[in-house]
Each structure stands twice: as C-alpha cells, then as structure tokens.
Symmetry: C2
Subunit: 126 residues, 2 copies
C-alpha cells in the first residue's frame, strides 16, 4: 500500500503515535505502531498498538473494554509521527484508571499528581 510506504518507520520498524480524544482534544497517551498494527487498526476501526516491552501487538482495551475508536489518522510533515483522533470508550485511556496518562505536572521542581483515578485498576483488569 503506497500510503503505508510513505511512512518513515524507525530502525525498529515503528512509528510514534499521539492519541488525542476527538471531542475534548485531550492528549490521551503516546504509544507505538508497527506496519502490521497500523494496517490492523485501519481495518478494524480501533487502535491496535505495538507493545515495545512485550514485543507483540497490543490490542488496547481488549481486557478492559476501553477501546479507542478511530475518527481520523494524521501524519506529520516528516512522515515519521502519527496523530490519531479517537473516541475513548469508558473515558479511561490510562492503565492507572485515569482519563489520560499525562497527570503529572511540573510545579516548583516537583511532579505533582493533578488528579486521581476514575476507576480502580483492580476493577478494570479482572
């Protein structure tokens, strides 16, 4: 597919993906995709990342139900970063049970936790 080949995959065959909630515009998380995971995501209509730690496809929300339904996929000027706008099912993108992953804020030379969990991870991953 020419559109896949336009992407400049890194030395590990991956591209960073910024995932943003389409209605709130909140940036939810940064993750990575391989050619296979991007192809599958487009086909299925929801986000499937590549897990660099587990070295396998990461079907986000498979266990928790918190899938990310794809609204738009955008590519940057250098063809090496994706921005995907999604509907976040359940309103929880973070494995800590929070809406998004960027809840630590730099304040007076400390990382302050800006808000608490919406759902206990023990209840999410049963």
């Amino acid at each position: 597919m020419p559109w896949l080949n336009q992407i400049k995959w890194n030395v590990d065959g991956l591209i960073p993906v910024i995932t943003q909630e389409f209605d709130s515009n909140q940036v939810l998380n940064l993750a990575w995709m391989s050619k296979e995971s991007l192809t599958l995501s487009v086909k299925k209509g929801y986000v499937i990342y590549w897990s660099r730690s587990r070295k396998k496809l990461w079907n986000k929300g498979e266990q928790s139900g918190h899938k990310q339904l794809i609204k738009h996929i955008n590519l940057d000027c250098d063809d090496d970063t994706l921005l995907i706008k999604v509907e976040q099912i359940g309103g929880i993108a973070c494995h800590t049970g929070r809406h998004h992953c960027f809840y630590q804020k730099l304040q007076n030379n400390k990382w302050i936790t800006t808000y608490g969990v919406l759902k206990d991870p023990k209840e999410i991953y049963v």
Copy 2:
C-alpha cells in the same frame, strides 16, 4: 535534580515531547529533548529540543522567531513521555509554514493535504 531523574530517558538519553497549543489544544509537533535541553527549556521558559538529525540543541524559533513559550509541562504515567503546553508565537509551528505539522490526513488510502501554508518558508527562514 530529582524531578529530572524521575524521567526514564531512552537509550539515547532522550524523551519524546508532544507539544500542544494551550488555547486551541491543537497538537503542534512531536520532537525530542535531552536532559540538557529540558533543563534549558525550564530555565528559559521556551522550548529547546534536541535535534536527532543534527545531533545538537535545537532552539526552536531562533531563526524564524516562532518560539514556543511554555505554559505547563506534564509527564506521563510511565515517566517516558512529556506533554508540553505552549503559546506558539506567530501561530506557525511547522517548518513548512503551517500552523502545525499534522496536515496530512488518511482518506481513501491516501494522505491528503488538509490545508495550505500560512507563510512561505522562504520568508520565514531568511
């Protein structure tokens, strides 16, 4: 500085940085920071990345005047990605002369350019 040491720098000593416009919530670009560039950014109040291609500090906007003034710095749950909210001076973050870098949109298996340049790069980089 303990807050710097909490960050999980990658094998190259870098962290990916998502830069988002604080008023519009538009994601402007993805770039990278070293410990030195993050320290300098915090000190100066505007964004200084690490250029992976040029292997040196990248004082964004130094030539164009399109600096990114820092409003907030957030760190994700895994301590390995930054989200920085900025005021984008001149309204142009992309080297192509566009507001942001994510102007290519996937549509019918093609990357469509969704909008044009606001300013000719030849006028930006004189």
